[in-house]
């Protein structure tokens, strides 16, 4: 969730009253934003104005700046009405046109633009304007990959015809923002390589055949999105007429972004809330149009749906009154008594469905004012998942036998799952992660042993012997499945101390089997039961490893369901365990009742 810092005094002034921190926190809570911090409650450096840091829901792009928060809260408090935005075209000869060249198809095909005239910034509104662009870039624009915004002092742009074209990197030449040196495309890439702010955007176009460039009529570069603007058209506190260019790869979001910017900052236009449109000529992809399109979206919402979900019996007009507090203009429909005609302003791109309108009615009514009812009419039955029920039987019996339960991590390093256990990765079993942040998380474990042994290592100062167990899932690849992998429930235990404890883990196996009503059976008999037989497995000390066999019924073929044994000294040393130890691991799913 984005956090927006707003000037405390300015905000309370705009809301027409002072708030205590608790009162303001309460207002935020009811509206669905969160007061993160009131900096006046901590030690502020001298000369710094107190700020409120407010967390905004990730889909409310209209609240990413002071202007938007102030507007939304004022409307919520019924102090103001949602603004009516107006397009005022410039005289023909002054109207800005953006001509889009098909060469941009390959890199950033979509363009938008707008002009704000007669703007008078002060330092704080100027800062807010800059910060809004940053917040939009970081959020809806997905770090400029979907949309990038450039703002320019219109008076420094020559002519009214702007072109947007793809240019071979070497032929790009301009001095970027706050620099005097003219650089080519490759030079710019090198120059910003290590820049903390800009460096992270370079990859978006670096390897492209052409870089997208906005030029004015005299072929001066305005910007090279999504990287940097030119220094020539830089805006400042004194700028009055602002040209905004937008380029991007997402046709929907570019419209949302241009609308949010003009909705937030047209309040500073010489006539508040007026926007000067630009003409976009983009014949090759059928996107020629006048931009921005600020006509609100008309939709409908059902009265009985809203009432039914909220558990209320409001009249259509009462719902409309609630919606007006959320900046949605609604009127009871002339066509149906069950419909509301709702106008979605350009600021509310988050409204996708009538459920979003219903939610706004609920917020305006107050979630905490709703009747607290209970969904009691239907009869449902509570049941455990069968595998969890079996697991719990094993867990209880093992704990009662004096063993301590641990919960190790499911992710581990490749070595811990293979090499440390003297095992080889045959490539068919373990799920490998693509992007772990550390080597601790390279694979999903295929055995409970790594976690148990790491727990022994960390607890080696505990009194001996250590007797620990875990019942949990391991994961195996299976390319026949939709999800290409499946979980397998395992029981694992390790005994560590001054003696190997083979017969102790063996005894634990016998106990668990007894409690699961599985009798011991002779390998040669054909009866239902389990037995163990010698196993040559490098995890175990030679001659001290065994397979656990299970025959489900007379006549069925025996299956290996696990192993046990004295751990190989090399394994112990790999896990830095200074004791001798024995382990057991078996498949719990064997005991599911089919």
């Amino acid at each position: 969730m984005p956090t927006i810092a707003v000037d405390k005094e300015d905000l309370y002034k705009s809301l027409g009253r002072e708030y205590t921190t608790e009162e303001f926190d309460e207002l935020c809570f009811e509206f669905g934003i969160e007061l993160d911090e009131d900096t006046s409650q901590s030690d502020l450096p001298a000369g710094e104005r107190p700020q409120l840091k407010i967390e905004i829901p990730a889909n409310r792009y209209d609240m990413l700046c002071f202007e938007g928060i102030s507007k939304a809260l004022n409307v919520f408090l019924s102090r103001e009405k949602a603004p009516n935005f107006k397009l005022v075209e410039a005289p023909k000869e002054k109207q800005i046109t953006i001509v889009v060249d098909p060469s941009t198809e390959k890199v950033r095909p979509y363009v938008a633009g707008a002009v704000l005239r007669g703007v008078h910034f002060n330092q704080r509104s100027y800062d807010s304007f800059i910060s809004l662009q940053e917040k939009l870039h970081a959020n809806i624009c997905r770090n400029r990959s979907l949309v990038a915004i450039g703002t320019h002092d219109l008076s420094k742009i020559k002519g009214s015809k702007i072109s947007y074209t793809g240019v071979v990197p070497e032929k790009v030449k301009f001095a970027p923002l706050n620099q005097t040196k003219v650089m080519t495309g490759p030079e710019l890439m090198e120059f910003y390589e290590k820049d903390r702010n800009i460096g992270k955007y370079l990859h978006l176009i670096r390897d492209s055949d052409v870089y997208p460039i906005f030029y004015d009529e005299e072929e001066n570069v305005l910007s090279m999105p999504p990287i940097i603007n030119s220094n020539k058209t830089k805006i400042s506190l004194e700028t009055n007429d602002i040209f905004i260019d937008l380029s991007g790869t997402d046709k929907t979001k570019i419209e949302v972004v241009v609308n949010q910017i003009v909705a937030m900052f047209s309040r500073y236009s010489s006539t508040p809330f007026t926007i000067e449109p630009v003409k976009i000529i983009s014949e090759h992809n059928n996107l020629s149009r006048t931009c921005p399109n600020i006509s609100p979206r008309k939709t409908t919402a059902e009265v009985d749906y809203i009432n039914s979900v909220l558990g209320l019996k409001l009249s259509p007009q009462e719902i409309c009154d609630l919606l007006s507090k959320m900046m949605l203009e609604a009127t009871p429909s002339a066509n149906s008594s069950n419909l509301l005609d709702v106008t979605i302003p350009i600021t509310r791109s988050d409204i996708l469905h009538q459920c979003d309108i219903m939610e706004d009615a609920g917020i305006a009514y107050g979630f905490n004012n709703l009747n607290r009812t209970f969904p009691a009419d239907s009869f449902t039955i509570g049941e455990p998942l069968p595998i969890n029920k079996v697991s719990d039987i094993v867990r209880r019996e093992v704990a009662m036998a004096g063993w301590t339960e641990v919960m190790a991590l499911t992710l581990c390093s490749h070595d811990e799952n293979f090499a440390f256990l003297n095992r080889k990765d045959n490539g068919t079993e373990a799920v490998h992660l693509e992007n772990p942040k550390t080597a601790e998380y390279q694979v999903v474990r295929t055995s409970l042993l790594p976690g148990l042994l790491k727990t022994i290592k960390e607890n080696r100062k505990h009194s001996l012997p250590l007797k620990i167990f875990e019942v949990s899932d391991v994961v195996f690849k299976d390319t026949s499945l939709e999800r290409q992998a499946y979980n397998n429930r395992r029981f694992g235990a390790v005994y560590a101390g001054k003696t190997s404890g083979f017969e102790i883990v063996h005894g634990l196996l016998d106990r668990v089997m007894k409690m699961l009503r599985v009798p011991w059976s002779d390998e040669k008999s054909d009866e239902r039961g389990y037995w163990i037989s010698e196993l040559n497995n490098p995890t175990y000390f030679p001659g001290r490893g065994a397979s656990i066999w299970y025959q489900e019924a007379k006549g069925s073929s025996p299956r290996q369901i696990g192993t046990l044994g004295v751990l190989h000294p090399q394994v112990l040393s790999n896990f830095e365990i200074p004791y001798v130890a024995s382990s057991i691991e078996l498949d719990v799913e064997t005991f599911l009742i089919k």
Partner: protein, 492 residues
């Protein structure tokens, strides 16, 4: 029992002992203590401890008693040197103690300065008070003048030692012989019948019992079990969450999380290198519904309006929430729609940097209620009852945003201990376009809610670092000694 105990008894037989140090000189006080406490345990004697403070000269003090104080030694040197003692020579003549001597001799007015020399300040040889005082202390163990005594202590010339002795009297069971007492009733005593005549040593009721050395469940699983019991009591069936690997489709797309959503970034989600690509789900109608809802809108939604890519949906991830399983369960429910309640408590994975409150894996508690015409008030009322079972009795709801629920509400509980509202969970109603895509009827509405398992456990057990609760670094002592979970005891 030592022979000395018998000596004590014999002595007492003649009369009470007022001070054991006087009656039994030369016997170590620990020997005396051992004897009287064991006799007292048998009620044969009663005793009182006498503590006496005793002062004794330190090594330096002893040196002064033998050779005179530093100041008198300096005075003597000044007298000896006819033309006065050069200040620079003091240390040469008297060693390190010369400086102390010089200071004190000045203070006493015994010497005075004459240029760079010291000359005598009094004509008559002064009395060496320090030496006399130390001599007194050595013989009597104290000094009448407390101020002077304190001064000597500061000068580290004397130290205090504590002398312990006892006054002893006959007890109710006094005898000259010591009877042997039995400590425990044994089977031999039962068989031989000696229990009838044996005398037993009194039991020490303030001692701890013997450690049980039993097994133990992990605290997190104990809390999990409490949650499960709450869910069972409210008619919830446990979901098959034993599936960590998910496709982007089930983990995100079905939940209406757009493909450019930050949650799908490499920064937040573990993607798989091997295997790498999921199969498309069998239900092709559902697949195309999901695609349409994202791409152009459907079921009353205008959609996100972006080109939806199947290759994003078939990327494999470690599930970031158990809601992927809830989605699959609801999709299954659509085949035979009706009221249902599901829950799960299982692991989820986030590609987060690990710190005190974040691990790359943790447990999510999740509940789903499907029923006809459910209301938001039902969800709020349900959550109120649910949390009251956890001992959280005051809750309120904050509007929030979540791609797959609308309305979405963060749940805050009042924490009595902290005196403030803390977030205890998330809840909401699944979006209609998500449910209708699955084929669920329009009037079958679905509540969802979730919380982490670790967070309430950390609050309950005052654990501040999640790594001390989950994973291999958890201390076995912590696991073994953790009390039972009782949610009815105030939690939040």
């Amino acid at each position: 029992m030592s022979d000395f105990a018998l000596t004590v008894l014999a002595t007492l037989n003649k009369g009470p002992v007022t001070d054991s140090r006087e009656t039994f000189p030369g016997i170590d006080s620990q020997v005396v203590q051992g004897a009287v406490t064991s006799l007292a345990a048998r009620n044969m004697v009663t005793f009182k401890q006498i503590e006496k403070e005793l002062w004794a000269p330190t090594a330096e003090g002893e040196d002064i008693i033998a050779n005179g104080s530093h100041e008198i030694r300096l005075y003597d040197e000044v007298i000896k040197s006819l033309e006065g003692l050069k200040i620079a020579d003091v240390a040469k003549v008297l060693g390190p103690s010369g400086k102390v001597g010089q200071q004190r001799a000045f203070k006493n007015g015994w010497v005075k300065k004459d240029g760079d020399k010291l000359v005598k300040g009094v004509d008559e040889a002064p009395v060496d008070v320090t030496k006399d005082q130390l001599t007194t202390i050595k013989s009597t163990g104290t000094l009448d003048d407390a101020k002077e005594l304190n001064e000597l202590k500061k000068r580290k010339l004397v130290t205090k030692t504590k002398l312990v002795s006892y006054s002893i009297e006959k007890g109710p069971e006094f005898a000259l012989e010591i009877k042997k007492l039995d400590t425990d009733l044994t089977i031999e005593m039962l068989q031989s019948g000696t229990w009838k005549t044996s005398e037993f040593k009194p039991y020490n009721f303030s001692a701890e019992g013997i450690n049980t050395n039993g097994g133990a469940f992990h605290p997190l699983n104990k809390v999990r079990e409490e949650f499960r019991q709450i869910f069972f009591s409210m008619g919830f069936t446990e979901m098959p969450t034993n599936q960590y690997v998910e496709s982007g489709f089930w983990n995100f797309d079905t939940l209406y999380v757009p493909q450019q959503h930050p949650a799908r970034d490499l920064q937040d989600t573990f993607y798989l290198k091997d295997p790498v690509k999921a199969l498309e789900p069998e239900d092709k109608t559902y697949w195309s519904h999901v695609r349409k809802v994202h791409e152009e809108g459907e079921f009353g939604s205008i959609g996100y309006r972006y080109p939806w890519k199947p290759e994003e949906a078939t990327k494999l991830v470690l599930r970031t929430h158990t809601t992927s399983v809830s989605a699959a369960m609801l999709h299954k429910l659509a085949k035979n729609p009706g009221p249902a309640r599901y829950f799960s408590i299982d692991k989820v994975f986030r590609n987060e940097a690990v710190d005190a409150t974040h691990l790359a894996e943790f447990h999510q508690v999740e509940g789903v209620i499907a029923d006809y015409n459910l209301t938001l008030g039902d969800l709020i009322g349900f959550m109120e009852r649910y949390f009251s079972k956890m001992g959280v009795n005051q809750i309120r709801f904050k509007p929030a945003y979540n791609p797959y629920t609308e309305p979405s509400m963060e749940i805050f509980g009042y924490h009595e201990g902290l005196g403030k509202w803390v977030e205890v969970g998330n809840s909401g109603m699944f979006r209609p376009e998500m449910l209708e895509s699955m084929g669920l009827p329009k009037d079958l509405r679905v509540h969802g809610f979730g919380l982490s398992l670790e967070r309430p456990t950390m609050i309950k057990y005052a654990v501040s670092n999640i790594r001390e609760l989950l994973g291999h670094k958890v201390s076995l002592d912590f696991i073994e000694n953790n009390p039972a979970v009782r949610f009815e005891e105030a939690l939040v």
